[in-house]
Subunit: 377 residues, 2 copies
């Protein structure tokens, strides 16, 4: 079996699909429509989230095995950050159509190019700590995928988060090369706090990190059953992709594609029918959805638990424990006597809020839009 | 008596001295060493505090009766704001020597020029509401001053403030033209909160607004008794002021002048000897010492009590009652979910604090200095 190759070798016939979309509204004003979350270095690692994602996947998928799916308007910025990507490794979407269209397009294009291969989808804007644990989980997921399962990686929940969906596991799968993999009993939406505590106590629930590993034939077969129109349209686009007809077919077909997440289109109904598996992931993971989760990920600047994303010399704090400051304008940011405050300082817009309100930053974005200040979004 | 002239006429033989000094540390980063508080329009009146002060005093002192005492480095900015001031109406100090030197210099120069006249000193960076009440108080203070008293105007305390000094009044003075004026029993430093409440309850204490009205001969006579060296030095400077020897004498004498406030040098010891009177002032007054007092003075922007000093279109607030925002960089300032927060946004420095911490902004200034960022002070 190819999955028995040495862990340091790329996995045979495996492609990593990276959907790079979403504006990261709750990380405004750092994240903007024109410069979304995945283009930023949100944890001070020296790489953007997109670069870190590609860096993590290249050893698994090989030098030509990482495929980026992103909006046309982001192609130039993505190529600037990832100059090693080949021409054919970037699939540009004319407009956003959510994750099923993005991943389905990649599956259909790759199957057209390479036959029935295994793909794994990994968001461009998540943070992962623990490369070896990640590698092992993906390799095990590929083994389960080769056996015909749509396989996800379920993250060990370290707290009763209400910001994530959960995947509920069942009996062991019993597939060679996937000794830890379990059947999936179902997926859940983001729970309330009490339910999240029950999930954590049960030991059956893990965070759904949106990683799906599957043979292209399996994924597209499920899509053909669940969403036949979307499947047929994506096949049409894929057939034309590497030809002179691409632009014409895209113009014709793309605007009419159904907008739906892969979770709803395939993962949930197929799980109900027993066709989804989960590999327990033991690596650190976060989707960095808001400034509070950003705060958890950043190293503490001092004993007060204060966090800085940027140059600490640009921040002066007095009596401000647990504060999160993003000095992104070059100005000196001074904070006096406010705990758990969030200050995000960019050249044209400033946000001052609290970690407890981090999820509501999207309301600020809506208000900025209502002010007619789309130039800031 | 000249004080019986119509209230709309300038007062005969009266000069208004305006010491324009102090950097307004607690209003950083709006107020800076190079652009101190008095040069700013802090209440959205359309005039800087300096311009409003001159505007208020000119009807009382006449077109040539307002005399500005300020640091050499501020002369150009002051003249730009007050182009009507004559050459001789600005007295430039080579270095700051506190209020006794500034007012004593003006008294000595004016006595040299005009003989024994009445002067009143009025800080350049205070806010006053109620012009007619102010006029009447000053006219009454001039009447008491002509009778030989150093006369202050005591402001009716509207709250038990711990930010101001107080003047304690005694028996009626009994001087013609000054029917409301009282003897002063003494001055106090800024009290603690409990003492301030006792002061307010007693009815005997008023805020010391630093306004002192006196005949030049009386003021300089007291100074000669209390601080003979300072008196003699100021006379030397004044004798040379309108001559070619000014620069030489200033260079020789000024650096050695004692740094002392007029309160300590004259007002307190002379009050103890019965030589000080107080006119009860009923106009609104504040020294705008910090962002909390600024908040009290600004009109509310909406029902939440939020205040903006600047263009309200540059501020977006959600769930932020009582907040004070100074958008002075042209950027959009957004605040989410913080009550009573203070956000001061300038092109090179940002301050985020609370109204309760307003007095401690000076600690931020000290920390900025310790960082070696004198360029921001």
């Amino acid at each position: 079996m190819t999955s028995a190759a040495a862990p340091s070798s790329p996995i045979d016939d495996f492609f990593a699909v990276v959907p790079a979309g979403g504006s990261g509204t709750r990380l405004w004003p750092l994240s903007r429509g024109g410069e979304p979350k995945f283009l930023h270095d949100l944890v001070g690692s020296g790489m953007s989230l997109l670069q870190a994602t590609e860096h993590r996947l290249r050893p698994l998928a090989g030098p030509d095995g990482v495929i980026l799916v992103t909006g046309e308007q982001h192609v130039a910025a993505c190529r600037a950050q990832l100059p090693g990507l080949s021409e054919s490794a970037v699939l540009a979407e004319p407009s956003p159509r959510e994750s099923m269209a993005a991943i389905g397009l990649a599956a259909a294009v790759l199957e057209k190019r390479h036959g029935d291969v295994v793909i794994g989808s990994f968001a461009a804007d998540h943070v992962i700590h623990g490369t070896r644990a990640f590698d092992l989980a993906v390799r095990e997921a590929v083994a389960a995928a080769r056996a015909g399962y749509v396989t996800t990686v379920g993250i060990a929940a370290s707290r009763p988060s209400v910001a994530f969906g959960y995947v509920r596991s069942g009996e062991p799968l019993g597939v060679e090369g996937a000794p830890h993999t379990l059947h999936v009993r179902g997926f859940t939406e983001k729970p309330d706090a009490a339910t999240a505590r029950l999930y954590l106590a049960s030991g059956e629930y893990r965070w759904n990190a949106g990683m799906f590993v599957s043979r292209t034939s399996v994924l597209l077969g499920h899509l053909a059953e669940q969403r036949p129109e979307l499947h047929d349209s994506l096949r049409l686009v894929a057939d034309a992709w590497d030809t002179s007809r691409r632009a014409a077919v895209l113009a014709d077909v793309w605007p009419g594609l159904e907008k739906i997440a892969i979770d709803h289109a395939v993962a949930e109904p197929v799980a109900a029918a027993g066709g989804v598996a989960v590999v327990p992931g033991t690596f650190g993971w976060d989707d960095v959805g808001d400034y509070n989760s950003l705060a958890v990920l950043l190293p503490s600047d001092d004993d007060s638990g204060a966090k800085v994303l940027g140059n600490p010399a640009d921040v002066l704090r007095i009596d401000s424990a647990g504060s999160v400051v993003v000095p992104a304008s070059g100005r000196l940011v001074t904070v006096l006597g406010l705990d758990d405050v969030v200050v995000v300082d960019t050249p044209d817009a400033l946000l001052v809020t609290t970690r407890a309100r981090a999820q509501q930053v999207k309301n600020v974005v809506e208000a900025v839009r209502a002010l007619g200040r789309e130039d800031l979004l």
